[in-house]
Amino acid sequence: MAESLLETPLASLHRELGGKMVPFAGYAMPVQYPAGILAEHLATRAGATLFDVSHMGQAELVGEGAAAALERLTPADVQILKPGRQKYGLLTNEAGGIVDDFMVANLGGDRLFLVVNASRKHVDLPAIEAVLPAGVRLNRLDGRALLAFQGPQAVALLAPLAPAVAALGFMGVAETEIAGIPVLVSRSGYTGEDGVEISVPAEQAEALARTLLALPGVAPAGLGARDSLRLEAGLCLYGNDIDETTSPVEASLVWTIGKRRRMAWDFPGAERVRQELDNGPARLRVGLLPEGRQPARAHTAIAAGGETVGEITSGTFGPSLGGPCAMGYVARPHAADGTALSLMVRGRELPARVAPTPFIPHRYAR
């Protein structure tokens, strides 16, 4: 492993737990623990598991007009976000491509909390700083870890330690304490299950992680399970399913564009988005279910009638689905649910059909 890889504040805990460390976005991260991806995935859907996602970028945008400033880089309606609420959004560029996807929370008092992808924080944060008016400041929160505690039992297990967490609705946010440790909790995640993401000072991250892992039935889970869980839940991975060449319309993420923004067309790439909404995009992101058990991986060509009509961007074997699932882009005439397509897997045509996502229904809190 390269010397230059960064470590999260939980690095020594990962080693103690037997985590298999791999390079990811410049960090040494656990891809799995001894239980393995399959068991970690199923444990998340059945109970509760703990993920270290401290590699992700955390920042605070502070000052009067912070929401309006952020809107210069995103089609999301940030100004409508009430204190104590979080939403998912996209950063876009002038060409209508997706620069990153992110979470933004309104902490009240002209403070926004941002979480961006590890692989993109070096792009996003300078871009945000570049558009800030006087009086709005971006604080990089490099001294904080981020833990994801996910699964149908997660909040019930947490409730005795942090009563405020159980009171949060889906996408609710609160600054509170867990077992006396000051945290910022959002009821959200990347697994399709109920659960929370917890921002915590780096020096208290290990104590918090040990507290959560000591709760009954809780197991650690790695990036491998995180990927199969999010794919079954139909959630995009930046760099695979969305990037600077894909637009919000092509990516089937039009729902992230605020109504007010679609009246004003005042966001980067509005021209392309408007044109694609009027005329239909050339291609669309869809879910795909291959027949049989063989997974079709990213970059697999998608064919119809002997012609290539698209490409898979993420594909795996879904442990909860009990079969393979994938997502990818296809030319619009082939994007309807149920359309029969061929996946070119290892020189053979694997039959598949377009299917709605999520593949496993979301079970978020109300």
Partner: protein
Amino acid sequence: MAELKFSKDHEWVRLEGGVATVGITDHAQTALGDVVFVDLPEVGREVAAGDSIAVVESVKAASDVYAPIAGTIVEVNAALPDDPSLVNSAPTEGGWFFRIQPADTAEIEALMDADAYQSFVDSQS
């Protein structure tokens, strides 16, 4: 039981009654993780040493399985497509992949023994 021999592609070979049974090693299945799919060669196929003739996939990744010796495929493990996890739970027993009628059994003798394979694995990590 006959001694296991090992290839540099992390297959094991066991010669019994003139037929060689082949699977992937415990080291290989550990590295792959939970196996979810196996594609096996056709019975009757003539293979050369080094030919890619089977596929094994885990949740995370796909990997080729090569013929460690030349010969003819005489049997495949019919239990494997329905229960690929046998590759993880019993890699050198119930998780075998295929059986080859060897063109030349000397090819098997030339493979690594258990100690040499362990040294090979250690040298790669």
